[in-house]
C-alpha cells in the first residue's frame, strides 16, 4: 500500500510542520507568556494562544485556498505542483539572501495578536511551507477517488485545504502552548531567552527543502 504510506507521511508532515512553527518564538508563543504576565491572569494565556492560532490559521488557509481552486485543472496538475514547488524554493532563497526582518510587523499594536500572527506567518512564508505537502495530499486523493467531476474534485480539495490548515494550526498551537505554559508556570522568564534560537537560516532552508520535495514528488510520482 505505497499510497497509504505516503498519505500518512504527508499528514505527518502537516503535523510536524505545525510543531516546528509552534516552537519558533518568532511565531509568537512568548506573546502568550507576556499576555498572561501582563494581565496577571492565567486565562489570558489561552486567549492569547487562540488569537495567535486564529491569525496563523487564516494565513495558512489564505495561501492554500488559491491552490485548491487551481488544482481542478487536472491536466495541468504536474505543472502547478512544480510551479508551486519553485515558488516555495524561491521564498526560501529570498529569505536566505534577505535576512532583514519586515519592519511593518513592528507597527502592529501589541494587543492585536491575531493580526500580528497572520502577518508574521505571511511574511515568513509559513503558509507556503505547507503548499507542496498539501498538493501531494490532493494528488493522491484524486487518484484514489478516480475521475470525479471537476466540481467535486474542487470541493474535495477545499475540504482538504481546511483540514490541513486546521491540523497544522492545532499542532502549532499545541507546541507553542506547551512551551509557553512550561515557561509561565515552572521555568520562569529566564528560560524565555534561553530557549530562543535563531531559526532564520533553518527556516529558509526548510522552505527550500519542502519546495524541492514538491518538485520531486510532482515529477517522479507523488
Amino acid at each position: 500500500m505505497p499510497e497509504l504510506t505516503s498519505m500518512a507521511a504527508l499528514w505527518g508532515a502537516v503535523i510536524l510542520s505545525g510543531l516546528y512553527h509552534g516552537i519558533n518564538p518568532g511565531m509568537g508563543w512568548p506573546l502568550a507568556v507576556s499576555a498572561a504576565l501582563m494581565e496577571g491572569k492565567h486565562k489570558a494565556m489561552p486567549k492569547a494562544l487562540a488569537m495567535l492560532a486564529l491569525g496563523h490559521f487564516l494565513a495558512m488557509i489564505g495561501i492554500l485556498l488559491p491552490f485548491s481552486l487551481m488544482i481542478f485543472l487536472v491536466e495541468w496538475e504536474v505543472e502547478i505542483r512544480i510551479g508551486a514547488g519553485l515558488l516555495v524554493v524561491a521564498m526560501g532563497v529570498y529569505l536566505l539572501i534577505n535576512r532583514r526582518h519586515p519592519r511593518f510587523l513592528a507597527r502592529v499594536h501589541p494587543a492585536r495578536l491575531a493580526l500580528w500572527s497572520f502577518l508574521a506567518a505571511m511574511a515568513h512564508g509559513a503558509g507556503l511551507m505547507l503548499v507542496p505537502i498539501y498538493l501531494g495530499i490532493c494528488a493522491i486523493g484524486a487518484e484514489e477517488t478516480g475521475h470525479l467531476a471537476a466540481q467535486a474534485l474542487m470541493a474535495n480539495n477545499i475540504v482538504t485545504a481546511f483540514t490541513v490548515a486546521v491540523v497544522h494550526t492545532f499542532a502549532m498551537t499545541l507546541a507553542g502552548g506547551v512551551i509557553a505554559v512550561i515557561i509561565y508556570l515552572w521555568l520562569g522568564l529566564r528560560f524565555l531567552s534561553k530557549t530562543w534560537f535563531n531559526l532564520d537560516i533553518v527556516w529558509a532552508l526548510s522552505l527550500i527543502l519542502v519546495g524541492g520535495f514538491g518538485i520531486y514528488a510532482a515529477s517522479f510520482g507523488h
Binding site: 518564538p25 518568532g26 511565531m27 509568537g28 508563543w29 512568548p30 506573546l31 507568556v33 507576556s34 504576565l37 501582563m38 496577571g40 535576512r99 532583514r100 526582518h101 519586515p102 519592519r103 510587523l105 513592528a106 507597527r107 502592529v108 499594536h109 501589541p110 494587543a111 500580528w116 508574521a120 520562569g188 522568564l189 529566564r190 524565555l192 531567552s193 534561553k194 530562543w196 534560537f197 535563531n198 532564520d200
Partner: protein, 465 residues
Amino acid sequence: MNLRPDPTFHASPKLAMQAPVENYAFTVMLSPDGSQSDGIAVVDVNPKSDTYGQIVHQVIVPNKGDEFHHFGWNACSSSLSPLTGHAFLERRYLIVPGIRSSRIYVIDVKEPLKAKIHKTIEPEELFAKTGYSRPHTIHCGPEGIYVSTLGGGGEDGTDGPPGIFIMDCETFEIIGQYEMDRGKQDKHYDFWWNLPQDYMVSSEWGLPPQFENGVVPEDLLSNKYGHSIHFWDLRARKNIQTMDFGENYQMALEIRPAHDPTKSYGFCGVVVDTTNLQGAIFTWWRDEDGVWQSKKTITIDPRPEKPENLPPLLQGFEAVPPLVTDIDLSLDDKYLYVACWGLGEMHQYDVSDPMNPVLTGKVELGGIARSTKHVNGKDFAYGPQMVEISRDGKRVYWTNSLYSTWDDQFYPDDEGGQMVMANNDENGFHLDPDFYIDFPKGLRSHQIRLEGGDCSTDSFCYPSV
C-alpha cells in the same frame, strides 16, 4: 546576528537586576569650546581590577565641535519581544550624537578596550532625511533605533519643529521622521515608552537659540521654555494627549517611566519653577478612563545666598536654585535619584508609592556658592549632573557637566570633568571614597552608559515576577 539572544537582553527588569554586574562604564568626554575632539572614555568599574576607577581606553573622534551629550545602545532588552523581530541583534554599538554638530558616530564597543568608530553619519544626511537637527536621546525599540532631536531645519534649527527620527538597527541608515501626527508638540527633549502598553512620553527643553549660547534669562523669566509633556500612541506614531504642567514649570526634561511594563506611571523632572525657584518632580499616570494625569510629588527648595557669592545670572535672586537637571529610576522602580545641579546635591527618594516619594538619602558634592569637596578631599566642579544607576541598584554613578555654555553661566569659576560613584547599601546612600575620576585636561563629562545596560537604556517587554 547571533544564534542566541544577546546574554545582556533580559525579559524583565528583575532578571536584569540579577544579571552579572558591569565591568566597564562608557562616559562622554566633551571639549566645551571645541578646541579638542570629543570622545568616549571607557572606564574600568570592576573593583577587582588593577585599573579600577581609571579611564582605560578612549575613542577620540576625528572632528571637533561635535559636543557630545547623550548617547545609547543599538539594541537592548526590547529586542526580546517577538513583535520586534530583532531577538538576535548584539548589544555592541553605541550611537553617539553630536548635539552641536548634528553628526552621529556609531562606536563599536564589542571589545571595550579596543572600542572604535564603526560608522559616521554626517549632519547633511540627517538634515536631508529628517528635517531635524541636534540629535539627543537614543532608545532602541520596535522599529529600530529612535533618536530625539532638539532642533528643526535651518541654520538655527527653528525651521519646523524638532522631533524623533528612526534609524535602521542593523545598517544604521537613517529611515526618516517618526511622527505622523505630532499634535501640539513643537519643542523636544527626552522620550521613553512602555512597549507592551504601546505608549510613549516625550518632553521639552527649548529651541536651539534658547540653549546653544547659554540660557536666555528673558525667555526663562517669561516662561518660554518647554513646560509640557506629550503622550503618544507609540506604534501609530500619533500624539494622543499633551499635558501642560503650567507655564511656570520651565524645562520639563527627563522622562522616567516605571520599568515594570505592567505599571502605567512614571516621572518627569522640571528644572525650575519660575515663581519660587523650586525644582520639581511630577508623577504622571494613566487613570481608569485611559486619560493621562499628573501631579507634582516632589519639590526641592532653593537655598538663600548672598549676591556676592553668586554668578551674575543669579545675583538678583539672592538664592541658589536646585536646578533639577537629571533623574534616574532604579530597575525595581523603588529609588528615584534626582540631580540638583545648582545646589550641589544628589537626592535619593523612595518612590515605592509613586504618589508619595520619601527622601531617603542625600549626597552633597560641588554646588553653586558651596563647592562641597568629595569625601576623598578632592574638588568637584559644578554639581552632580548626569546620573546612572547600576542594574542591581547598588552603585550610582554621576558626572558634573550640564552643557558647555550653561556650565560657564552658572559656574563661571569652575572647570573640569569628574565622574564619581556612590554606594547604596546597608549604610544607606553614600559616596565611595575610592572611585573618583578626573577627566583629561580641557574635557568635561556628561552621560554615562554601563556595560550590559543600565537604568535608562533598557525597555522590558515582560513584567518582573
